[in-house]
């Protein structure tokens, strides 16, 4: 960021903490950006002529006579077609060695869409993964996170989903991404020949944590440009939102705010909602779909981060290792896609809702049977059959390596029903059973 003529330079810092510094200045706008010895900072508090700045990269080595220059504007990004295929850091500066992008300058974190101007999401996003398409169907304009423990292959599944989703643009917002994962995404997209559709804003573990706070806004401002102005279908990948929330708590802690549950700031819900609610279906055809990752600690979804996320997003995808088949599956109990009702049985085959529910119910019965077995009880005939069904269901449908179309998933469902159960055991509408029950 270069300085221009007539900018006032301040050189008297009155207070420095780990993340903020304060000085006396006048005529400063709230949320305005500034540089402190070249480091990017933002106004977070003004009291009289005391201005507090949050320095994104931290205050290490900042002297009390540092040069502070106010930019007179909120953080912004230049948007244009040229963004496609490029890699940027959290500030929107290129990190791929390419030139800076020319285009229209827009403030990041702008206003939200008027709810009456939104369109109801209605386009299915097929991924080929049955645990998603069959049980937790995704729809354009939806926001949904993966809830996963750090050891699970969420980035792989997310990359897979992104590539199969047939989006016009894929925007990757990496927060606290390890360098290895960053390179993984780069390679996968490159190998798929999709690099020209990808735009990345990357904050790796090597970068200061507070910088992460800019990544989602950068990614979503870009997404709004392509979805609203160019009417494109945009898919935004945000990984890992837990590290984003951690950065929020660092800042609020240094601002002396009273923490609420799990040391998170009281505004966590609003902070996360501001990001996720950018997912939208525009009436003109463009859309922003957000797929995020929220890592859990020991599968605990009652922690404030996954908990608040769950209340904001339209469902969640839960990864779990199924020891019976030795594969990672999409857990049908804890996973949910709230928008699936808009498309299943409408854009997919009529038997979709009932097959989905019947299969999950039996899978729940199988889980009970398993508990019984672990407690040393004999299983009855029905229990045995549910266990057989569950194994097939896990392996042929829930496993993340499945890649078939939705009709084939439903046929597999009926095949598994036919192999293990009587018609009356399913509780499915008679008309559907008559039509789809597999012929011997």
């Amino acid at each position: 960021m270069e300085t221009t003529a007539f900018q006032k330079i301040y050189t008297k810092i009155t207070q420095i903490t780990k993340a903020t510094c304060s000085l006396k200045a006048t005529g400063i706008g709230y949320e305005e950006i500034a540089t402190v010895n070249g480091r990017l900072a933002q106004v977070v508090k003004i009291q009289g002529d005391d201005v507090t700045l949050q320095i994104f990269s931290g205050t290490e080595g900042i002297p009390t006579n540092a040069e502070v220059i106010f930019m007179g504007k909120a953080p912004s990004l230049k948007v244009g077609e040229e963004l496609a295929g490029r890699f940027f850091n959290a500030y929107g500066y290129p990190i791929d060695g390419g030139p800076a992008v020319e285009g229209k300058e827009v403030e990041i974190g702008g206003p939200s869409v008027n709810p009456v101007r939104r369109k109801q999401p209605s386009d299915i996003i097929p991924t080929g993964i049955a645990g998603i398409d069959l049980n937790n169907t995704l729809v354009t304009g939806q926001k949904i996170p993966f809830f996963a423990d750090p050891d699970q292959p969420f980035n792989q599944v997310m990359a897979e989903v992104a590539l199969r989703a047939k989006a016009d643009k894929i925007i990757l917002g990496g927060m606290g991404l390890s360098n290895d994962d960053y390179l993984f995404f780069k390679n996968v997209f490159d190998n798929a020949g999709a690099l020209d559709r990808i735009i990345s804003f990357i904050n790796t573990t090597e970068d200061p944590p507070v910088e992460r706070l800019l990544v989602p806004d950068m990614a979503l401002t870009t997404a709004e440009y392509f979805a609203h102005e160019k009417n494109e279908k945009v898919l935004v990948l945000l990984t890992d939102m837990t590290l984003y929330a951690d950065a929020l708590s660092i800042v609020s802690n240094r601002m002396d705010q009273i923490p609420s549950k799990d040391s998170m700031p009281g505004s966590l819900y609003s902070d996360l909602a501001k990001i996720y609610e950018k997912a939208v279906q525009f009436p003109e055809g463009g859309s922003i779909t957000i797929i995020a990752v929220t890592t859990l600690s020991g599968g605990d979804i009652t922690h404030a981060i996954p908990d608040n996320t769950g209340y904001i997003t339209e469902g969640q995808l839960f990864l779990r290792r199924d020891t019976d088949i030795g594969k990672v599956i999409i857990d049908p109990f804890r996973s949910l896609s709230r928008l699936k009702q808009l498309v299943i049985g409408k854009q997919t085959r009529e038997d979709h809702p009932q097959v989905m529910n019947a299969a999950i119910r039996i899978f729940a019965d199988a889980a009970n049977a398993k508990t019984k077995l672990e407690n040393g009880f004999d299983l009855n005939d029905y229990d045995e059959r549910t266990l057989k069904f569950a194994k097939g269901y896990s392996n042929d449908l829930l496993a993340i390596d499945v890649n078939v179309d939705i009709d084939a998933m439903l046929d597999t469902g009926w095949r598994l029903f036919g192999e293990n159960f009587e018609k009356a055991e399913l509780g499915i509408k008679d008309e559907l059973v008559k039509k789809y029950w597999p012929k011997k």
Partner: protein, 592 residues
């Protein structure tokens, strides 16, 4: 002279204004940024400094900016034209706003000044009137909308003049009333009222004495919501709070529904925007939107306006109640409102209560719930003997952090609301929707003698005792299931299996309901009565089984046939066919 001031401090949406004159708590002020005015509410005053919460983003705001105090609290505008509108939390008409994105400081009028209404007199010259008395009515869509003496008018008045029947605009004077000192006051069709003050223009508020049908079996039968009553639905995410509230908003037997989307997902509101103009209210044949008003402050809209949105909804409900209507107010979710309070309390550096919520949270919540209720108005019916009545039934959702019901918002609400519909994660996981826990949930109204009397009269003499029986059976089923899990299938007598499976019949056939099936989604009380009798008949049958292994498949097949029945039109050929099938199945196994 209005008080003016200057901005001296900014911390997110908490803006400190130094005032040059008197300022009152909760007064509205406008902060005059270049080109845009930001609305704010005073929430604390220290000396000359007024701490205000701004209902918008404060990005770019500078110290020294002018502010102007309005000498009134946050108000809503009441008058014909509210029905079927989509408002934000501050009652701005969302449809009137230009552009796809919300613009800061874009305040739009809630009513249409140019709209013309067909006015019909109710009061006559010389009538004694008071605040809330009906002067006349206009037709708002299909709804007779009463034009009342404004609620702000204190004391007794006499009608001095009233316009002839005819067409008038919203701001035209339709009547002049004279107060006791002889002073004349003009009345138009429009009035204003501060949202945080309850409208008390009624005669008395009796205990609720009838129930409000929702079409949801597990609510209507097991834990009915009273007309004028209050209830809340706490539940972890994904347990189906919103689906349940939408079901109630579509089917409930109310004249008017106000849906307050408070800090929730925009797509859920869009669903209402999209579907309500299409869906038909089976009771009236009209489109659902014709009886609905939506207050929408989604989670990404400014936090301070979120707090205002529930009050805006309640005040509009009170306005329509005063017209003698049956209003149902839904708020999803009251936890977001509490969180908005927490964010502000935090910025003001107040000492926090539990989970950093403000200390007065329980008081704020109970004051709010207390505004609901059935009331007899001061207005008498045309015969002059009986008073007109109206009601607000309030149903809120609570989103407990971590699904833990021992958190401050749930606990505070439990003290205030009379119906508790606990959504259970296990039920949701096994797709037993609606996931209302039949054992933990309660309706205090079932214990009201008035309500019991009402149920006996309108449904059946033995209704209340049957409902109690069903609850016992469900509890016995749960106990049996626990025993089976501890001792094993063959470790318990067959009787345990029967108890368990008979309770499962009640659960699957009666409690579970498919909100997405055209027929099953709403069940009339008559049909509920019939179905309850059927499942009770199964429960009271003496069955004969030789081994426990026969029990499971038998009841599965009974449940399956009952489910087909739920999916069929009531008393249709198909329905009766399945009924016959069930009879046959019962007779096959009946102990002689």
């Amino acid at each position: 002279m209005a008080t003016k001031g200057k901005v001296v401090g900014i911390i997110a949406n908490l803006v400190i204004v130094e005032a040059d004159g008197p300022v009152s708590q909760n007064e509205i002020c406008f902060i005059k940024m270049p080109g845009v005015d930001l609305m704010a509410e005073v929430i604390k005053i220290i000396g000359k400094k007024a701490y205000t919460q701004v209902f918008e983003s404060t990005r770019g705001l500078k110290v020294g900016t002018d502010a102007e105090f309005m000498s009134h609290m946050l108000e809503v505008t009441l008058g014909p034209g509210i029905l079927s509108r989509n408002y934000d939390g501050l009652q701005n008409d969302l449809d009137k706003m230009k552009g796809v994105f919300l613009k800061r400081g874009d305040y739009t009028a809630p009513l249409n000044d140019d709209a013309e209404w067909e006015f019909t007199q109710i009061a006559k010259v010389g009538d004694k009137v008071e605040a809330g008395s009906w002067l006349g009515e206009v037709l708002e869509g299909w709804m007779p909308h009463k034009i009342m003496v404004p609620f702000k008018f204190e004391g007794n008045f006499t009608v001095k003049s009233i316009v002839a029947n005819g067409t008038y605009k919203t701001k035209d004077v339709v009547a002049v009333v004279t107060d006791e000192s002889g002073k004349d006051h003009e009345v138009t069709m429009m009035q204003k009222w501060p949202v945080k003050v309850p409208i008390k223009a009624y005669n008395n508020k009796p205990r609720p004495f009838k129930i409000m049908e929702t079409g949801v079996r597990t609510m209507d039968t097991l834990n009915p919501l009273a007309e004028g009553g209050t209830g809340f639905i706490p539940g972890p995410f994904g347990a189906g709070k919103t689906v349940l509230q939408h079901a109630v908003s579509q089917q409930a037997e109310a004249d008017m529904i106000i849906v307050t989307a408070c800090g929730e997902r925009a797509n859920e509101v869009v669903e209402i925007f999209t579907e309500f103009p299409e869906l038909v209210d089976p009771r009236t044949g009209r489109k659902l939107m014709e009886r609905t008003t939506i207050i929408c402050n989604t989670s990404n809209m400014p936090v301070a306006a979120r707090e205002a949105s529930v009050y805006t909804g309640m005040t509009i409900a009170e306005y329509y109640r005063a017209m003698g209507l049956k209003v149902l107010l839904l708020a999803d979710s009251t936890s977001r409102w509490a969180q908005a309070l927490r964010e502000m309390s935090n910025r003001m550096e107040e000492l926090p209560g539990p989970d950093a919520f403000p200390m007065d949270l329980p008081a704020i919540i109970s004051n709010f719930y207390a505004r609901a209720g059935f009331v007899y108005l001061n207005q008498m019916k045309a015969d002059g003997k009986e008073a007109e009545s109206g009601s607000i039934t309030f149903l809120g959702t609570v989103s407990p952090a971590g699904g833990n019901l021992k958190e401050p918002v749930t606990e505070s609400t439990k003290k205030a609301a009379r119906c508790f519909y606990a959504l259970n994660q296990d039920r949701a996981d096994s797709k037993r929707y609606p996931a209302i826990d039949p054992i933990d949930s309660y309706s205090k109204y079932l214990e009201y003698p008035e309500i019991q009397e009402y149920l006996k009269k309108t449904i059946a003499e033995d209704w209340v005792s049957n409902v109690t029986l069903v609850k016992d059976y469900l509890l016995k089923g749960k106990e049996a299931s626990e025993q089976i899990n501890i001792l094993g299938d063959d470790g318990v007598p067959i009787d345990y299996h029967l108890k368990y499976w008979k309770a499962e019949v009640i659960d699957f056939v009666f409690l579970q309901q498919d909100a997405f099936d055209d027929i099953d989604k709403s069940t009339s009380l008559e049909r509920q009565k019939f179905m309850l009798a059927q499942v009770l008949a199964v429960y009271n049958t003496d069955f004969k089984f030789d081994s426990f292994e026969e029990v499971n498949p038998y009841f599965k097949s009974i449940i399956n046939t009952f489910k087909q029945m739920n999916y069929s039109e009531y008393e249709s050929e198909k329905f009766n066919g399945y009924l016959k099938e069930i009879e046959t199945k019962i007779n096959e196994r009946k102990a002689v």
